[in-house]
């Protein structure tokens, strides 16, 4: 499933890379600890977090993640949006809490298989 389809299905906000949402989503990883994501996320996953500082884009890019989704209506720092554009990793957002968003995402990704 493409990032764009997830954006549409879950009505996500798009903070960056609006024109490049064609990355393939292979799954999801939910964590607010950067070392956890660094050590255990897998290529192509979307990362669900409430962290908003620019280092999340560094980690997402280094791990080749397909997108980052901020939960609970948290908005990204300007620097985070900038780095997202530079690295070409879309930064998305939702008003849902992590639990609910993960549930919905699991559901839509699950129907793909």
């Amino acid at each position: 499933m493409k990032v764009k389809e997830i954006v549409d299905l879950l009505s996500l906000k798009v903070y960056s890379c609006e024109d490049s949402l064609q990355g393939e989503v292979t799954g999801g990883y939910a964590s607010d600890l950067l070392s956890d994501v660094m050590g255990h996320s897998k290529e192509g996953q979307v990362w669900i977090t409430l962290q908003t500082h620019k280092n999340i884009m560094g980690v997402a890019s280094l791990r080749d993640l397909s997108a980052v989704i901020l939960v609970k209506g948290f908005t990204p720092d300007d620097e985070t949006v900038k780095l997202s554009v530079t690295e070409g990793v879309p930064l998305l957002g939702s008003d849902m809490e992590a639990f609910e968003l993960c549930g919905k995402l699991y559901e839509v990704l699950g129907t793909q298989k």
Binding site: D32, L34, S35, M38, G39, T49, Q51, H53, G58
Partner: protein, 136 residues
């Protein structure tokens, strides 16, 4: 191929820069992607450790045909008990650093899991040198 990067303690805006540059170089060299992933994890964690704990440091990366050698020398507080620091979940990071999602006591264990060789030399009150080797 040799690279050198300076790292400033406390400057999280630049954290990950060296890892990103090395990742690009390894990709260009056609290094296996599973090996690149291991290098990136180990180097990123070591880089963040300097930012989070030390005053300043230098990263030396030496890419050879058989593997990569990373040396991270910092001027900082040193590690009083390396065995304890290697334990998952143990951390001396500040509250501010933890709030950013760093300092969860996973850095050194992540480095160790991804490196073929890891050595730590540390002097309390002076600094720490990490040597990480990953074979291609």
């Amino acid at each position: 191929m040799q690279f050198e990067y300076k790292v400033e303690g406390g400057d999280f805006t630049q954290a990950g820069h060296a890892s990103s540059q090395i990742k690009k170089s390894l990709k260009q060299l056609g290094v296996d992607s599973s090996v690149i992933k291991r290098v990136v994890v180990a180097l990123y964690e070591a880089e963040v450790n300097i930012v989070a704990h030390a005053y300043r440091g230098v990263i030396y990366a030496d890419i050879e045909s058989t593997g990569i050698k990373l040396t991270l020398e910092d001027e900082g507080p040193g590690i009083p008990d390396v065995e304890q620091a290697m334990r998952k979940g143990f951390s001396t990071a500040s509250h501010a650093v933890r709030e950013m999602g760093f300092g969860a006591g996973m850095g050194l264990p992540n480095i160790s899991e991804n490196a073929d060789n890891l050595s730590i030399e540390t002097v309390v009150g002076k600094g720490t040198t990490l040597r990480i080797e990953i074979k291609f």
